[in-house]
Symmetry: D3
Subunit: 313 residues, 6 copies
Amino acid sequence: MRLKFGRQKDMKDVGILKQALPYFRRYKNKTFVIKLGGGILKDKKSLDNIAQDISLLYQIGIKVIVVHGGGYQATELSKKLGIIPKIIEGRRITDEKTLEVVKMVLAGKINHEILTVLKKYGVKCVGLSGIDGNIIKAKRREPVKHINEKTGKMDNLDFGYVGDITGINNELIMTLLEHEYMPVVSSLGDDGQGNILNINADTVASNIAISIKAFKLIIMTDVNGILSNPEDSTSTLYYVSREDILKLIKEGMIRGGMLPKINESLEAVENGVKRVHIINGSTENALLIEIFTNRGVGTAILADGEQAEDYTT
Amino acid sequence: MRLKFGRQKDMKDVGILKQALPYFRRYKNKTFVIKLGGGILKDKKSLDNIAQDISLLYQIGIKVIVVHGGGYQATELSKKLGIIPKIIEGRRITDEKTLEVVKMVLAGKINHEILTVLKKYGVKCVGLSGIDGNIIKAKRREPVKHINEKTGKMDNLDFGYVGDITGINNELIMTLLEHEYMPVVSSLGDDGQGNILNINADTVASNIAISIKAFKLIIMTDVNGILSNPEDSTSTLYYVSREDILKLIKEGMIRGGMLPKINESLEAVENGVKRVHIINGSTENALLIEIFTNRGVGTAILADGEQAEDYTT
Amino acid sequence: MRLKFGRQKDMKDVGILKQALPYFRRYKNKTFVIKLGGGILKDKKSLDNIAQDISLLYQIGIKVIVVHGGGYQATELSKKLGIIPKIIEGRRITDEKTLEVVKMVLAGKINHEILTVLKKYGVKCVGLSGIDGNIIKAKRREPVKHINEKTGKMDNLDFGYVGDITGINNELIMTLLEHEYMPVVSSLGDDGQGNILNINADTVASNIAISIKAFKLIIMTDVNGILSNPEDSTSTLYYVSREDILKLIKEGMIRGGMLPKINESLEAVENGVKRVHIINGSTENALLIEIFTNRGVGTAILADGEQAEDYTT
Amino acid sequence: MRLKFGRQKDMKDVGILKQALPYFRRYKNKTFVIKLGGGILKDKKSLDNIAQDISLLYQIGIKVIVVHGGGYQATELSKKLGIIPKIIEGRRITDEKTLEVVKMVLAGKINHEILTVLKKYGVKCVGLSGIDGNIIKAKRREPVKHINEKTGKMDNLDFGYVGDITGINNELIMTLLEHEYMPVVSSLGDDGQGNILNINADTVASNIAISIKAFKLIIMTDVNGILSNPEDSTSTLYYVSREDILKLIKEGMIRGGMLPKINESLEAVENGVKRVHIINGSTENALLIEIFTNRGVGTAILADGEQAEDYTT
Amino acid sequence: MRLKFGRQKDMKDVGILKQALPYFRRYKNKTFVIKLGGGILKDKKSLDNIAQDISLLYQIGIKVIVVHGGGYQATELSKKLGIIPKIIEGRRITDEKTLEVVKMVLAGKINHEILTVLKKYGVKCVGLSGIDGNIIKAKRREPVKHINEKTGKMDNLDFGYVGDITGINNELIMTLLEHEYMPVVSSLGDDGQGNILNINADTVASNIAISIKAFKLIIMTDVNGILSNPEDSTSTLYYVSREDILKLIKEGMIRGGMLPKINESLEAVENGVKRVHIINGSTENALLIEIFTNRGVGTAILADGEQAEDYTT
Amino acid sequence: MRLKFGRQKDMKDVGILKQALPYFRRYKNKTFVIKLGGGILKDKKSLDNIAQDISLLYQIGIKVIVVHGGGYQATELSKKLGIIPKIIEGRRITDEKTLEVVKMVLAGKINHEILTVLKKYGVKCVGLSGIDGNIIKAKRREPVKHINEKTGKMDNLDFGYVGDITGINNELIMTLLEHEYMPVVSSLGDDGQGNILNINADTVASNIAISIKAFKLIIMTDVNGILSNPEDSTSTLYYVSREDILKLIKEGMIRGGMLPKINESLEAVENGVKRVHIINGSTENALLIEIFTNRGVGTAILADGEQAEDYTT
């Protein structure tokens, strides 16, 4: 038996839950693919925060699939093992030793660290890679002709154990979602002949999102979305259409490392994904702000015919 | 294409969602029976607020069953129709004309007004009474011997079309919950022979809660819970055990109109309901504060072995 | 231990069950929508009889949905409450007070009286309106221009809280049928914004029948079906095609209050309902005779390509 | 377009359906095992009549399992093939040639004739024997010691391919019932080692009825039930308890060929079957009269605690 | 406690299981229809062998449907009963007495003998004919005009109770397969009016295979498949395309009794069956060799676009 | 079109499949837990062989769960990274760096290598650890008192991130098996607070086997089962009872590193696992010989009441 005491603060706070209500209604039972960039996984506290945010989505009935890479951490372990990364024309070559590192870092270290933190916040989750349940059908990337920098002659550039996706089988993912498990997918695949392949994580996220007609694909990276002026990191565009994007690319406002991400995003909104969000994972509460507020924190790329969500007027 | 603008407020606000997270986890897929007293249904704005709160519970995956009476509104319509309420020894007699009023007001007016507001906030709901799907098995209350005030002689007091519950069949309720419908139940029953009966709404709520082993039975009424001192409406007790209750009754601290409600509550916690909350429906956000904050707003009666929820330390 | 005694009568009687067999086979698991007019619900004995007939359909595996109005009873209560019905150009205006009466009478009184009698005959039934489970999507009827009788000038005629159906969501109805519950639907709807609307019961019945591709829509009213000669109430037509109907309308043989009913019926047979029956609810055993005998009691309107049922030759 | 004409007869007749209603309610979804004796299958018209009766039970939702023997027809074919039945001490010996006849007559001829007539009346049925789906677990009957009539010496009496039931696996039967198929079971079994066995059909019926806790086991034979006086075929007892039966046996009122049938019946009511009916299959409409009228046509043996059905007062 | 001893042989043998692995993978959950000719059922040992082979297919997850005739055995019983087979122009006439024999031999004797042996090897099987579960919709074959050999005049040739298939309802078969029962189907049907009909077993097998889009239809007969030279029984063709077949027929290499079988086979591969195998049931292990080895034992007729299975290189 | 040629070898070989038939029958739908020791995973060819064997079990309908450790490989990577293994009193201490290595090697490298080879042989598999789907509930092992070798004083020995299993939740495993996925489980767990723990793989295998009442737990290690004479590696015991084991331990015939494995095995057979097999993974076809032959290759420990399988006499 205990007496009550003042609760003025509570009274005000719980009212905020009501503001979230229209978003809860809109997102219930919808499917979100969330891509976590290797960079934002470096920091334990940051991962803990994001996991907490994701667990909130899970609790209110959003079906979340997490996809992650781990390039940063792979480079780190490679160095410790004395493996010198071969980067040719800006592309990383995955030889056998590098593959060994990649599979350990992605499917072992990072995947299980994500699982462990999500579990701490009450999420029933299952770590996967493209190999599990035949999710990803891939083939080794064909060598390309290029001019050898040393010899100055044309020769074959072999990317090694790098895979290109040729198909997605979402049966396992759907089965797990149906039983309320959250799949956490690392970007490994195989060629069906016993060889593991290293696949780009953005591509994995985008392909899975397309395969399940995700409502949202959210790419958590280390930039503040798409900028109207690449020199000004505060010039984030709130939302853009496909046409806007094509115009920005043409004008050179989207360029460099951002370009492949944006191309995957376009691919997604052109193939059944309703919208792609690009947000900065290092901003506090970035995921919740982007999803539960009118203005968001990054950039939303809208599929044709979709409107920006706006419930707070 | 639209530029961003300041969002300092959002950033702070969404953080509050995280505070609700442990409650979300705890309550997901749990079953709550919420009893709405006729008094708090008088005011349209108040009903709108409560419906919004209930819709939030629904959106985060709590299985809610609403039970309501409507004594206040029945009296009002009776007066308009020139029916004079017969109250003998504090008990209302339900003759045929009164029954006619009760079924119209409860199952027609109030039930459908609740449905309409819940629907406005995105709840798929289904209005029921104890007659639907044979939910309530009831029999007409036996007349009791009493001394006729006029004649001063012993005679039979017949309560008319008043029913006592003899059993609950929760099949329809379970089927609806399973398909994500929220049952809204008015406190009518029948005797299986074609006669409708008027049943006490607290008793209906308590019996349904017991039948489905509800996690919480929440009685929304017009008092501030159980008071340690009935003269002081601010002396609300935060939580009490069964033993505390029995002591308070013995000491006369629980008495009058509160007594039957408390007895139904005891019945509930002694038969599988984990806790009963008694809260004041006219307090703003009462439901959310009681459910999502540590201190709550009314009194929780804990079943033996249960602890008060406390996540905000 | 008890001795037998003569049973000559039984022997003959049970043989009649065999005559019903081809009908039982034909109708098993078929869906019938039965519209009960407010007029035939006035008399308790009549309702009891019809409920018994409907329970027989239920017992032999026909999936029945009952739809009812209650205009007669609404007028009656209005009068008691001193509300003067406003009828302008033959159309009833539903102002706020009238709506209050309508929702009490339809969803409260009539709906629960039907439920209670069906339950007495062993039917598991569930009372609904168009608001439950979002069955009816409606909007308030637009005001129409008309010449004000008093002023003689053109002005807007606002029907008040009268709804037009814009869509049917049969999910709840199908779920209930699947679990062997019989839905009993009163003709209320809402606009999704918290406002209840009064909808024509024939229109509700016809729209639900179309939505679930009902095998039969049976309109129980107070006339003997379609007459070849409107002056002669014994000139009931046994069955008619769509073309017959159009011809009869053209010839003026169908007119007045019958016309809207017939138009709803045509709508039904043109959109997937196999046949519509119009029968006189006050004829004893009307429903059974119409359904289980070759000749029937009212008029069947056949969809194109359908034949009259004829098993008794 | 066709005019109506008089229908006075219909009006009266369909009313009789209402008398059947309480029986329909009581029996819906209940399970009946109906044993057809070989004798009543001799006559095509009689089989047609019984099949029609059974199809009525099927149409109103009773789950029926038919079990049949075929001793009469086996003897007939044996004679045609020149096989002389060996009857020793009143028991038929099933040698290899007799077994050949039995399996052809039971599982081939009779079973398929029943199926074909049931199908004609709209029943989805499946012919089975104890071998299908491992329904019957049986073993060959052990030889017994007896005094050889010719030699006057003690020797072994081998019954040949006669089986005793050691267990029932009702999985296939339940699966078929669930999908609305009616199982029609001939009384063959096997020893699990490749040898077919001839089993008594009453025993098969009784064992299946026990295994599925049938509501009724109905034995259609060629006598008028249990007689209070075996000399007087009109002295049929309406219903009897287990105790009555034991008394009648003790008094010698039940004797001879009736005794094994009655013992199987007792076995049934002592192991979960609610009542066993013994009726004369050659009485017209016997099945319908026994099931749908108060007085019935044969004798009902009631399990302890069961009452005779009586709805026609 | 027991000591080990030499196991050299085991070690080599189990390795052979691995050779079967690619076949196991390929055939898992595929559907095979296996037609057993009456000839190969004559010999008990042969039936035992084939049943064992079929049980292996069942154990590794192939969904098998067995179809059988029984002409040979019908002729045998006819003779014993003194019925003289009427063969007119090479076609057997099924009069009433012959039909009686056919139903006893097929549905009784042969069907149950197959069941009993399959059960011995652990198969859960269910004996059926086309009558069960309305599998075969058939009509009596129309009489044809022919020249009466005796009179030399044109008259009507009535085949008697011979049926032609007008439709297949595979619902029962699919339900049984889903519950892991193996259907064993004898080639009887009925006309829906109570008359049983004798149907050609190859036609039944082919029609069922088409109806369920079987992966393989395997016809076990008494020839070594299709021969490139009909005079040389060792000239079996390994596999043939539809075009090959048409060529062989044109060249007269397929002729006589083989022709109808081949026509049914063509019908099958032209309507969704992937391949038809014709093998000699009297070859030891014929079924296993045909299914689990590269070269097989008979002839495979490939549907257009299908390749011969070849896993043993 | 292709001609046949000699197939004598096939004919003999396929016959061997029939020898496997009784085993196929016995094991269908049974659950096997197979523990793969880190030692036998070193060699790629060996892993390929074992994966092929496991895929055979999968194809014939055995539900297999693979559990693996990876101590050998963890030590190897540790060395490369310059981490010196701390072994105190024969026990490995898992500090933070070692844990980093363990999670990469187990959940990353080994788990995905097993998946990739199983997939090559047609198995739909899913890589898991105890963290996924909350399979393993664990807590960090309590430090134990011991005498510090250096100081000679009593102090606390902290094993670091080593976990003890406190419960198994087999929901995810059962869901995957039901959908025909093969779970491949690495021996990691977590404490529910965000900390990953290293758990003994034999213990994981044994606990999972107990939790799902596995039919067999098969421990593939690098010894030839239990030896009657530990000095003689050819003295393998074919099968032993629990009592035999206890006697052998008492006599010192089971000792050293074998002891914990045997204790886990006893735990298993005492808690619902029918038999535990200990076999040498480096013997060719060891798994197939142990499972599909009478004599096997290692030692079977039988639960009380179980018999050795013996089908080849």
